[in-house]
Assembly symmetry: C2
Homo-oligomer: 311 residues x 2
């Protein structure tokens, strides 16, 4: 993956995504003792960076593949992203969701034109149902994070960030399935100047932290975190990129996630998900090591149930 290829990806998806703004806060800078820049993907179409990867993955398909549709299993932002990207590109999207998924998430997918196929709430049922759709409809399966075209789409957030702020010393992202941090690492490799890539991960879902330590993909032992977008597992496509390019992963407590989220809401005046706050929580936890630096933070998404706030 060279620099020009990433620029091609960006040019391809540009008509379908927003170039999101970068915000700052004097007060959060004072707290951190550094200059922080927040890339607001909560203002992205459908409310999260996932729109970038979903769009790129669909656009890479052949006409024949597009005619047969795409399928994924997700009850989170990728379900909405694939639905909206498919709708914009005139492609049919099948979304496998557990029966037990909240009605509000099902409605969001339907609003974006996705076709929901319900299954039992197990990993096995989910994969089996997706496989059936591939076989019966001829649809192409697109994984939410472990797919190179998805990762390259996510990389465009980091590319835009470095175009606007070329001298960042580090970019912090949350780590869930690994698509965002792997994409950011690719962008940083080509567009950064001695810029580090650092992940934030809940202690309650620390598969990436432990995988980097052991050198092989580890599974989550718990997923009891408020950052529901980060419960997913690393994959075989993104892990080698993360191993090669990511400097470190910092784990944070649930209370640190909630405090960082409240800071973003109260001081930045933006709505973001708990998952988004994990990157800031990680930075603040180790702020003494990044004093006076220029630090980027990717706010991954803003889809949150306002009736269930942790504060």
């Amino acid at each position: 993956m060279d620099k020009d290829s990433l620029s091609c990806v960006h040019d391809r998806i540009k008509p379908h995504i927003h170039r999101t703004p970068v915000l700052t806060s004097r007060l959060i800078n004072a707290i951190a003792g550094a200059n922080l820049y927040f890339k607001c993907e909560n203002f992205q179409r459908m409310g999260a960076f996932k729109m970038r990867g979903a769009t790129n993955a669909i656009m890479q398909l052949s006409e024949d593949q597009k005619n047969k549709g795409v399928v994924t299993h997700s009850s989170g932002n990728f379900a909405q992203a694939l639905s909206l990207a498919a709708q914009r590109l005139g492609v049919c999207a099948y979304i496998v969701m557990p029966k037990t998924a909240p009605q509000v998430k099902k409605n969001a997918v339907k609003d974006y034109g996705g076709h929901i196929i319900e299954c039992e709430p197990t990993l096995e049922a989910r994969e089996q149902t997706a496989k059936q759709l591939v076989q019966t409809k001829g649809a192409t399966f697109i994984h939410p994070s472990n797919d190179l075209n998805v990762i390259l789409g996510q990389a465009t957030a980091g590319k835009e960030f470095l175009e606007d702020y070329p001298n960042l010393n580090a970019i912090f992202t949350p780590v869930g399935g690994g698509g965002l941090i792997a994409g950011t690492a690719i962008a940083v490799k080509h567009f950064g100047k001695n810029c580090k890539v650092i992940g934030g991960e809940p202690i309650e879902a620390d598969d990436a932290y432990r995988s980097l330590k052991s050198g092989q993909i580890e599974s989550n032992t718990t997923t009891n975190t408020i950052a529901d977008g980060l419960k997913t597992q690393l994959g075989s496509v993104n892990f080698p990129i993360i191993q090669r390019e990511v400097t470190r992963i910092i784990r944070v407590e649930e209370s640190e996630i909630i405090d960082a989220m409240k800071l973003l809401w109260e001081r930045m005046k933006i709505i973001c998900e708990p998952s988004s706050a994990v990157a800031l929580a990680a930075l603040l936890k180790k702020k003494d090591q990044y004093r006076n630096q220029q630090l980027g933070v990717i706010i991954s998404g803003g889809n949150v149930d306002l009736s269930k706030l942790p504060f």
Copy 2:
């Protein structure tokens, strides 16, 4: 007040304020049947447009006046704005607040370096206490909305808005004390092209609506509204400007304010005050009259108690 003078005001305060971004939402456009542009003064320094007017008013003082300090009575955003603007300009700010004001608002003023002088929670005590400070300290009284320099400061939001979007057919603002809408009207007069200025006001605090009808300043008969920034009264300086330049004021129900606020939080992913939502609520209430137009909405502020949300 000519065009050049307003440009001078803007140049004067620029180093002390943010040029706030303008955001849009495809979904809110679909709901409104028009193209809406939101000028996000909730991202302004200290979280509201009031920072503009407070800064301009202090900068217009003589050195002698600056040495003696400024005084206002407010328990809302203007108290914080005057404190922060004064702090930045090396001026002492005395803020008269009722004893009964929430501790969180007192803390915000203290954080920005304002000196709080408490009084009984009556209009009379408030005015008397401010008058004493003028007499004993020689401080200059600055009214939150009924002061030409404050109004001209607020006008810079509309000026920036029209610089970015010169073809707006109308700008909607909330109406409280009248400083923002009067300032916006001045900006529109000089920088707009057939652009209307339209106010949104809670039915529960509709002094401006009734004043425009009767042709003289009317008092609020109730102030039982969630939009706590809009409980204040029109004044003798801003009312003539509003009479001359504002097309109409649209009154909205409390439920319409809450619905509009929820729409802004959920779809725009921004934190804004109930007062901010009043302008959008007014637009949506009369959307059939503005179909397919280019409509600006000023989001006035984002200071809200997250533990007391109406949804």
